[in-house]
């Protein structure tokens, strides 16, 4: 019944080791990363195109509002990431 000896053993090891490696990768990836950001449905609009008639102050206000929006979007992404954390372990501590 032997169909290859060492070759068969090698393939069998591969079958056993490959899932084990995948488990390690999954377990590592499941940990909560404090700085990781999950996808967010919110999108920041492109930088405003200001017409030639805009005053310097108007342009400055538009740019500042745009910057505020970008920052707000960043905060919301962080919140999404935090709220997605596993409630039982928060990623690593044991209950």
């Amino acid at each position: 019944m032997s169909l290859g000896g060492a070759g068969t053993t090698s393939r069998r090891r591969t079958l056993i080791v490959a899932p084990a490696l995948l488990i390690v990768l999954l377990a590592t990836g499941c940990g909560k990363s404090a700085t990781s950001g999950s996808s967010s449905n919110t999108t920041v609009p492109a930088a405003p195109a200001v017409g030639a008639g805009a005053t310097a102050q108007q342009s400055a206000d538009l740019a500042q509002a745009q910057q505020d929006l970008t920052s707000l979007n960043g905060q919301l992404r962080q919140v999404d990431s935090d709220l997605d954390t596993n409630p039982n372990t928060e990623g690593d501590a044991t209950p």
């Binding site: 019944m1 499941c30 919110t42 108007q58 500042q64 505020d68 919140v79 999404d80 928060e90």
Partner: protein, 237 residues
């Protein structure tokens, strides 16, 4: 003979993968600590605290860097972050002194349940900072609306047709008010939340996040209205 062994290997592999997927986070923590020696378990718990303290320092740095945060909100967040940090440091000291796995496991669990760094404290800080940022953007757009009103009045006095620009300005002021209405209540709703109220207080976090997303959309619309108003005023000369 060969077929069944292959099948067994495959089944064992897939079962292991399924277990890892179904229990995220536990493979590297809970499953480990229950089978480890006390020193190893100490390390696992200490690492969990260290990671949270590092996160709290980062959040505190972000709050300090956010110049638009109101003094009241800054004080509230400082108090929350400080209390959480000191509590975790005290817990770390206790954990280091634990001599049984049973006690250690209970203390290690309180890293999560007693502080809720990722599920509560972080979102608290981010939502309050975000709300104040939305209000700051509203104030900036309000200033811009004033400038646009002045320009409209001047051009109207010069006999120009300012109908389109006036319409956009009305849109802008409506968006500003809507954004302020959404963002203003958030700090007052979020700051009082405490770890022992979790998960009951989670809907408040989720609702606040939704309110800020609404404010963001209103602010985006406001910026676009302001751009259009500026373009309209530019076009009429």
């Amino acid at each position: 003979m060969r077929g069944p062994r292959w099948t067994q290997s495959l089944v064992a592999g897939f079962l292991a993968i399924a277990t890892a997927v179904a229990l995220p986070g536990l493979a590297g923590a809970q499953g480990t600590i229950r089978n480890q020696t006390l020193p190893v378990a100490h390390t696992i718990c200490d690492n969990a605290i260290t990671r949270r303290l590092s996160d709290l320092r980062q959040v505190e740095s972000d709050v300090n860097a956010a110049v638009h945060v109101t003094a009241t909100d800054r004080s509230s967040l400082d108090a929350i972050l400080s209390a959480t940090t000191l509590g975790l440091m005290a817990l770390e000291t206790k954990i280091d002194a634990d001599t049984t796995l049973v006690t250690l496991r209970a203390d290690c669990a309180s890293i999560v349940t007693g502080y809720r760094v990722y599920l509560l404290v972080d979102p608290q800080a981010r939502l309050v900072v975000g709300a104040d940022r939305a209000l700051a953007a509203s104030a900036t757009l309000n200033s811009l609306a004033g400038l646009l009103q002045t320009t409209i009045t001047q051009k109207q006095g010069a006999g120009k047709n300012v109908t389109a620009a006036t319409s956009e300005l009305t849109q802008l002021t409506g968006d500003i008010q809507a954004a302020q209405s959404s963002a203003s209540p958030v700090p007052g709703q979020i700051v009082p939340l405490t770890p022992d109220g979790y998960p009951g207080n989670r809907p408040t976090l989720v609702s606040a996040r939704s309110e800020l997303a609404t404010a963001q959309r209103d602010l985006t619309a406001g910026i676009q209205a302001a751009q259009t108003a500026i373009a309209d005023l530019d076009a009429i000369g």
